[in-house]
């Protein structure tokens, strides 16, 4: 089997995650889907680093994780304060952009 399959898998996961982001209303789940997408990227990076035989890919994946962690921290904090203010974690309830 060629490791390209990892790429295909990553692509699939990414697409699923994206769809989830678009479909779900619960902010937390949306966040999870984002994480899923990030992980898919990481998988891709790792696979590439293996193909090209250098570790840069893994480094990037590492950074991605860090950034993802930061992002999750902030995002969840936002969700919490959102929930505090309007007693709901639904994305649609924060539709202040409506004309």
């Amino acid at each position: 089997m060629s490791p390209v399959n990892y790429l295909y898998l990553a692509a699939l996961l990414f697409a699923i995650g994206a769809t989830g982001v678009l479909i779900r209303r619960n902010a937390i789940v949306v966040f999870m889907c984002i994480e899923l997408m990030l992980n898919a990227c990481n998988l891709t990076l790792v696979a590439f680093s293996r193909m090209h035989g250098n570790l840069d890919g893994q480094i990037i994946a590492f950074f991605t994780m860090v950034v993802a962690a930061a992002e999750v921290v902030v995002g969840l904090a936002i969700i919490v304060s959102l929930f505090r203010s309007r007693h709901s974690a639904s994305v649609d309830d924060a539709s202040l952009m409506k004309l």
Partner: protein, 285 residues
């Protein structure tokens, strides 16, 4: 292990890929489609662990571990905490409110997947040299060498980013207490002033069988009183109403007494019991 990852993929890895890959995809799908956030979280965790395995299989040992420890261990737990905060049982209906949103989303997702596949398919990825010499000094050392030389600035900046994120999270979630916390006396005085419910709140309903904080105590007339349940649960709407159960228990009691008294009435009693059980089911719902 090391050797396995270094060269062309072995049949073992292929086997592992197809099994775990399927599971990962299923997990991802569940993450998206589960009604309750908790379930989604769990499925995601599963997918991540599988990904960790794949990392290992790809010779990214460090990342694999980090994936398990940081992601599955820390981040997902964070998620779970928040889910708890928001309410475990709070299930958001999957009914779409925005017209055509779901179809558009599905279309986009599908199309994107197709695109990615097409892209990967087109890309010429025939050559494939493992991480043998890259990992020769050991994966962690290799990474460390890179991080502290080539990517040192990025590394530092990421550190800064993390700090900022932490501070930001605190700022966002932390509520500044503007005035001194009220003493119990003051609180009671305030209650008197406002003239509402002077005595301490009644305890949650405690029965022989049910003994939980999320059950409203019954008022003398049999109706449950919201006051008896803690505010958080009330806000989440997680009050279990067992006012029906009492009646069912009553019925059950009668039935049993009948069984004991009327020997011949087995049939009727059975019918009754069945009816009772039916009622019980209804009440449970």
């Amino acid at each position: 292990m090391n050797t396995l990852a270094a060269y062309a993929t072995s049949t073992g890895e292929a086997f592992q890929f197809w099994i775990l890959g399927t599971v990962a995809v299923i997990g991802a799908l569940c993450t998206v489609f589960m009604k309750r956030a908790v379930h989604s979280a769990l499925c995601l965790a599963g997918t991540m662990i599988i990904l960790a395995v794949f990392y290992l299989a790809n010779g990214a040992y460090f990342l694999g571990i980090v994936q398990i420890v940081v992601y599955t261990g820390a981040i997902m737990m964070l998620f779970l905490f928040v889910v708890m905060l928001v309410g475990v049982t709070a299930a958001d209906s999957l009914k779409e409110t925005i017209k055509g949103q779901r179809w558009l989303a599905a279309l986009c997702g599908l199309g994107f997947a197709v695109l990615l596949f097409a892209g990967i398919g087109n890309a010429s990825l025939s050559e494939f040299n493992g991480l043998a010499q890259a990992n020769s000094a050991g994966n962690v050392e290799g990474l460390a060498a890179l991080i502290f030389t080539k990517y040192v600035f990025a590394f530092e900046i990421t550190g800064a980013l993390l700090i900022t994120a932490t501070v930001g999270a605190m700022v966002l979630t932390h509520r500044e207490r503007t005035e001194r916390a009220k003493t119990q006396r003051e609180l009671s005085e305030q209650r008197v002033r406002e003239g509402k419910h002077l005595p301490p709140l009644p305890a949650p309903g405690v029965y022989a069988r049910h003994n939980a904080v999320d059950i409203a105590g019954l008022l003398p007339d049999g109706t449950p009183s919201e006051l008896t349940v803690s505010r958080t649960l009330r806000e989440r709407g997680q009050i279990r109403d067992v006012s029906g159960d009492a009646l069912n228990d009553l019925k059950a009691l009668e039935q049993r007494s009948e069984e004991r008294l009327g020997r011949g009435g087995a049939v009727t009693s059975r019918e009754k019991s069945s009816g009772g059980s039916a009622e019980q089911k209804e009440a449970a719902k």
